[in-house]
């Protein structure tokens, strides 16, 4: 546990000395900010929508899209860079278990994402002031839980890809491909296969589907268990990849 924390802390601090992290933070906050302003402006000037109060989904929705592209940038160097700099050899010869190393790396990136997410908490406060009688607290919690779980999954997939490849760019594109698969491609076959087991499985695996449900404020147990399992699987595969590296 202590090792995980030591590694996570270093990783978290590292983000603040790298330009990519600032670009990711800027991109996320800028997108969310612009989107927010435009929607609020639109809603207050349209008589048709005047009865519809804007919900927290106008903040969290675009954030997920930005994270889809931001995650590969944040995770691509996690292990690939350690390999390149030779520091992986150092870490793998300290009394740290491979699993601790992986979880620490992932946790550092996750804490960085949480920091960005925490900054966006200013929007629900503004929204609460703008709307009457204020925004739904249940939906707010569910939506934030959704984005937190989603970033955990995205980062675990990114960590796994970074541990599979020595090259950062390979890790970047592999992560992007995997995220696009789970976020978007996986649902496409369900338009053709509309019933049956395959349809059920694909629906179950579709991250976007679960995210949208949670954004609307309905949360089932499997909506929480699935992303956590997927995160665990990503980290497990990363640890295996490191182990395989040793044996090669």
């Amino acid at each position: 546990m202590r090792n995980i924390w030591t590694i996570a802390r270093r990783e978290y601090r590292h983000y603040f000395s790298s330009p990519i992290a600032y670009i990711v933070a800027l991109l996320t906050l800028l997108t969310v900010g612009v989107y927010f302003v435009v929607i609020i402006y639109y809603l207050t000037n349209q008589s048709y929508y005047s009865n519809t109060a804007p919900g927290i989904d106008i903040v969290i929705g675009p954030m997920a899209t930005v994270f889809l592209f931001a995650t590969p940038a944040l995770t691509m160097r996690l292990l690939a860079d350690e390999q390149r700099m030779g520091t992986l050899e150092l870490l793998l010869t300290t009394p740290v278990k491979d699993g601790e190393l992986i979880i620490g790396k992932w946790l550092g990136a996750f804490l960085f994402m949480l920091t960005i997410i925490a900054i966006t908490l200013v929007y629900p406060i503004v929204l609460n002031k703008l709307t009457n009688p204020g925004i739904d607290q249940g939906v707010l919690i569910s939506a934030y839980a959704a984005i937190i779980l989603l970033s955990a999954v995205f980062l675990a997939i990114g960590t796994a890809m970074s541990s599979f490849f020595n090259n950062q760019f390979a890790a970047f594109f592999a992560t992007l491909a995997m995220l696009v698969l789970f976020w978007w491609l996986i649902r496409l076959p369900t338009y053709i296969i509309q019933n049956g087991t395959i349809n059920n499985i694909l629906n179950y695996l579709d991250l976007n589907n679960r995210f949208t449900t949670m954004l609307a404020g309905t949360m089932s147990l499997s909506d929480i268990i699935y992303p956590i399992s997927l995160t665990a699987l990503g980290l497990f595969l990363s640890a295996i990849a490191v182990e395989i590296r040793r044996w090669r």
Partner: protein, 309 residues
């Protein structure tokens, strides 16, 4: 201590090391001497728990490198060939990070103490990216010494250091080696001779010789090898030297040089010098020719093949 038994490592179909068996005791500095690609780094990586061997086993500090890898890693300090540093950290932050990973109590004091030892205290707050190669090497060494390990494994530790730093570095290693086990690799013969109590010569993944530096030297040097240089051409000097008793294998070299050998204990240099001067030559230089590492390997591997026959 280190005890390796039959270590073998295959990278795919290529065999990097084959059946290495050796020992290094506490209070002993053992040198791994060999050309690049001989398998030194591979062996060290196995001993530090970075990767397992394909066959064979080893004990380091009393623990098995495979089944008790974490225990081994706790007790080993390792400086890899490419010094593993994080350029975005300060020297202190980096060593503190390493100390935390090793769960050292009062990590801050340990870091200060080690920085003092490698004489880098003044640069503690400087970023690693701004350090010179020699300084980086010292930080790498500091990282390996930080937890006062029972076994210290250093892969080509003096590469890139200037001569003054090399001397300093050797002093530190010698000091550490008094109480602990040190295994270091090098491809510089003189370094191994100066630092090590025992030298293992490794070539193409096999140990070709194992002895004290003195014994190895004696074994290798069947004859003293010297070069003499005079002003002008030495063409007419050669026949004179050849005639002197005890001179063997005299050969003419360009630029007024003559190379020859003599049996140990039968030093003919005074006679050769006198002969040259009497013949009217201006003597410019007289120097022993050390065996190059390549010659040593050649000699040792030839010895081995002879023995095998």
């Amino acid at each position: 201590m280190i005890r390796a038994t039959g270590l073998t490592k295959d990278y795919g179909s290529r065999r990097a090391i084959e059946n290495l068996t050796f020992e290094a005791k506490q209070g002993e500095v053992v040198g791994f001497l060999g050309p690049n690609g001989a398998g030194k780094t591979t062996t060290m990586r196995i001993l530090t728990g970075y990767m397992p061997p394909t066959y064979g086993s080893a004990q380091v500090a009393g623990f098995d490198i495979i089944s008790e890898s974490i225990e081994v890693r706790r007790r080993v300090g390792y400086l890899p060939e490419t010094v593993p540093l994080y350029p975005d950290m300060t020297v202190f932050e980096y060593l503190k990070f390493m100390a935390d990973l090793r769960h050292l109590p009062n990590a801050g004091d340990m870091v200060d103490e080690t920085l003092e030892l490698v004489q880098m205290k003044k640069r503690a707050d400087g970023y690693i990216s701004n350090l010179s190669k020699g300084m980086r090497q010292r930080i790498g060494l500091a990282q390996a010494l930080l937890h006062k390990p029972e076994v210290l494994i250093l892969d080509e530790p003096t590469i890139g250091l200037d001569p003054a730093q090399v001397v300093e570095f050797r002093n530190i290693v010698r000091d550490v080696g008094k109480e602990r086990t040190v295994l270091l690799s090098t491809h510089i013969l003189s370094e191994a001779q100066q630092l090590c109590d025992r030298v293992l010569i490794i070539n193409k993944g096999r140990i070709v010789a194992e002895d004290t530096p003195e014994n190895l030297q004696a074994r290798l040097v069947g004859a003293e090898h010297v070069v003499l240089r005079v002003k002008g051409e030495a063409d007419d000097l050669l026949p004179i030297i050849v005639k002197i008793d005890g001179v063997q294998n005299a050969k003419l070299q360009p630029d007024g040089m003559v190379e020859f050998q003599f049996a140990p204990g039968a030093d003919v240099r005074p006679e050769v010098a006198r002969a040259a001067i009497t013949a009217g030559y201006d003597l410019l230089e007289f120097r022993p020719v050390g065996l190059s590492l390549e010659e040593i390997f050649l000699q040792l591997t030839q010895d081995n093949t002879k023995k095998e026959r």
